[in-house]
């Protein structure tokens, strides 16, 4: 059973279609990245899952629950942040966690534990409004972890964090993943998703363009880069190789798409045709290249008009 399952989720605001027929499934234990440029509909999708935004059409389930009452119970088993850290500015970090802890029926000891994990124990008695953006993000993460939930949903968790803070968050997320928790996080930072996530959905203008394991998406299209003294001859031989296609010359090397077989097979084939490569390597596309192709070169982080 999928932990999150979205079926044709759609949200329309007057002229803007914020999310358009989004379907995806997040299985237990996955670290699922929801990747898209600004304004692509990430927050809106998460808002629908969290019961904040009413879908215009479509449905979804959390832990298999899809009725309103069961969803409320499912959300108590989920730790989540949406867009910005939402806390009472006049209350201390600790008191703010008490509010969430009461709803989640979690005791005080756990509040201190979570404050420790995010490194906020020393500032816990200060008012939330005196916190820096990074501290606010950490408090939101602490709140999401309070009930040691089976599912953690984070909307741009790295926003406003310094490199150390980002590493700390990655470590926390990995730690949760290792304990079998399911994590769903949105981001417009490609490398963040590539480093942290096992699975990814790429969303653009509200439409899901591609979903799958990160390794499949970046490794699905393997390229081989070959160099030899006689590049023209190499190109001709590569053109004849049945395991590769669309060979071309680029930067003094022949680049081709590897459709089948491994580098050993290719190497033997080349030798058999009298070509002795000086360089032979497989390269996979980076997530960035895939993302750029799917989003028409809209660089991540650039606002998108729908």
């Amino acid at each position: 059973m999928a932990v999150i399952e979205a079926r044709g989720l759609t949200k329309r605001y007057k002229e803007v279609v914020a999310v358009d027929d989004a379907s995806f499934a997040v299985e237990r234990g996955q670290v699922f990245g929801f990747l898209g440029p600004n304004g692509s509909g990430k927050t809106t999708t998460i808002g629908m899952l969290l019961g904040i935004v009413r879908p215009t059409a479509g449905s979804f389930s959390l832990f298999g629950a899809s009725t309103p009452g069961a969803l409320v119970a499912a959300r108590a088993r989920t730790g989540a942040t949406l867009e910005t850290p939402n806390f009472y500015p006049y209350m201390s970090g600790r008191d703010n966690l008490r509010i969430a802890a009461n709803v989640k029926r979690v005791g005080r000891a756990r509040i201190e534990e979570c404050l420790d994990i995010v490194g906020l124990r020393g500032r816990a008695k200060h008012r939330f409004k005196t916190y820096s953006l990074g501290m606010k993000q950490r408090l939101a993460l602490a709140a999401a972890m309070l009930a040691d939930p089976e599912l953690v949903v984070l909307d741009e968790p790295a926003n406003g964090l310094d490199p150390q803070g980002m590493r700390q968050i990655r470590r926390i997320i990995r730690g949760m993943a290792e304990r079998g928790k399911t994590i769903f996080l949105s981001s417009h930072l490609l490398w963040e998703v590539e480093r942290t996530c096992t699975h990814v959905s790429i969303i653009r203008r509200g439409r899901i363009m591609k979903t799958g394991a990160v390794s499949d998406i970046v490794g699905g299209d393997k390229h081989v880069v070959v160099k030899a003294d006689d590049i023209e001859r190499l190109l001709a031989v590569m053109d004849g190789y049945p395991g590769a296609s669309s060979a071309r010359i680029s930067n003094g090397a022949v680049v081709a798409r590897l459709d089948s077989g491994d580098l050993g097979t290719l190497s033997r084939y080349l030798s058999g045709h009298g070509v002795h490569p000086s360089h032979l390597a497989a390269e996979s596309k980076t997530l960035e290249e895939v993302f750029m192709e799917l989003t028409d070169g809209t660089p991540p982080g650039a606002a998108e008009a729908s």
Partner: protein, 298 residues
Amino acid sequence: MTGARSHLGSVEALGRDRPRRRSGLAGILFRNEALKARKRPAFWVLTGLLMVFVAVATVATGRFSPVEMGWKTGWTMVPMGANMGSMCFALAVALLFAPEFKWRTGRQGVIDGLAKESFFAGKLLLSAVLALWFAGLAWAAGAAGLLAFPPTGEMTASTVADLKAWAGMGLGMAVWGGSAFCLAALTRGGAATVGILLGYYVVEGIAASIGMFWAAMKGYDWLAKAIGYLPGRVAEGLSSRELYYASPLPADAGLLAESPGFALLAESRSFALLAGAAAAYSLAFVAISFVNFRKRDL
């Protein structure tokens, strides 16, 4: 909430962090709303203001009353603090409800596992507790003032008229609190709520005076009656001493009786009708806020 119960089970299964108390949903809502109010400086400012105003008003009445009041009359002055209490109550409701939207903390509450309806119920519960708090304080401050400047004569206990007065005051407060609650839910802003609320009552007061005068001139009974049932007039009527007791100041009563429209006004002011109108207004305010709150995204 069965879902939350089953979650309770799963937290206990973790074995390392037992819930502090096994409380139901109402307990959770109450504890959270109480924590939010307790930590809010504005709440204590309102509480302090009410105490000071009521104390000053009681002392002023006790010291400078032109007539010798006696215990019985003095006692009837005590509930008058409820007027101020209503105002503080409405402001507190506005300040503890409206910002939940701007801060997106109401939204976070739902994300954390409260049903939207539960969050709303929490705010209603808060309002009920605030009403008791401010009414109780006004009463206590008034009673303390009375004891500090004891009137002459035998000390008397509360009467049926006093109870009726208190019920009426409570309903008057409900109109104030209900309108603040409704405005907070509709405007989603603290400043907007307070501004519209106070602005409305001032404008309604002026419009009612003009309307009454006009109705008296033209002899439009129905208009005078209708004006008497505007929300502000209902709240004011229920919190006016004259509805429950004879005026302790005969001179005042004479002056009032001469003013145009007073006879019509007095006629329309039956306790039962005012009380019914107040209850209807309060319920309508809450119902409107609920429908609106449910419909809109947080």
